[in-house]
Symmetry: C2
Subunit: 108 residues, 2 copies
């Protein structure tokens, strides 16, 4: 049994919450401060910071502090890896469906 | 606050476990019985069935029973939706990076 979490485990775990997806959505437009990220979310600042912690630990987001402002940035590498994992399975599924179609056509 | 789970919550929650990704990987090649899915996994049949339950409840997998054999199939719709969600954010991030590059070039 695997007793550690793989990067994709952490990525999908981070993506499964609507507040965290909303934060990623905003960060896809460019860097933002924690308070900018918190503004549209219906929750307290500490709750937003917990979501940011999950995103940062997953590797989907990086943060840096300058003075009193913490700026958050999207890190696209793991996001691309998660996208690729899904795309490959979807494509494999479609290829097999096409193959089945060809097989059925030839059998007519 | 949202007190129900959205389809994307369930999809990413299902995807965050390596055993469940392994099952989806196998199902992308075509339908399989529960025992075929269980064979390569280092866990008990009841554990595999719990993972299948999560996958079925998410909508990523459908199962049907014929006699004593339960056959599992990948349902590509939600998988595509999850892929699209990620792809759109990644593309938005890249567009904004390009725009920043153009802005910096113009400033030289």
């Amino acid at each position: 049994m695997l007793n550690y979490q793989l990067p994709l485990d952490l990525a999908f775990q981070a993506l499964c919450d609507p507040a965290r997806r909303s934060i990623l959505d905003r960060l896809s437009e460019g860097p933002a401060s924690v308070s900018e990220l918190a503004k549209p979310l219906p929750m307290s600042l500490p709750a937003v910071m917990l979501h940011l912690k999950v995103l940062e630990e997953s590797g989907l987001v990086k943060t840096s502090k300058s003075g009193r402002v913490r700026t958050c940035r999207l890190e696209p590498k793991l996001l691309s890896q998660a996208e690729r994992w899904i795309a490959e399975r979807r494509q494999m599924w479609e290829r097999n469906l096409d193959r089945l179609g060809t097989y059925l056509d030839e059998g007519e």
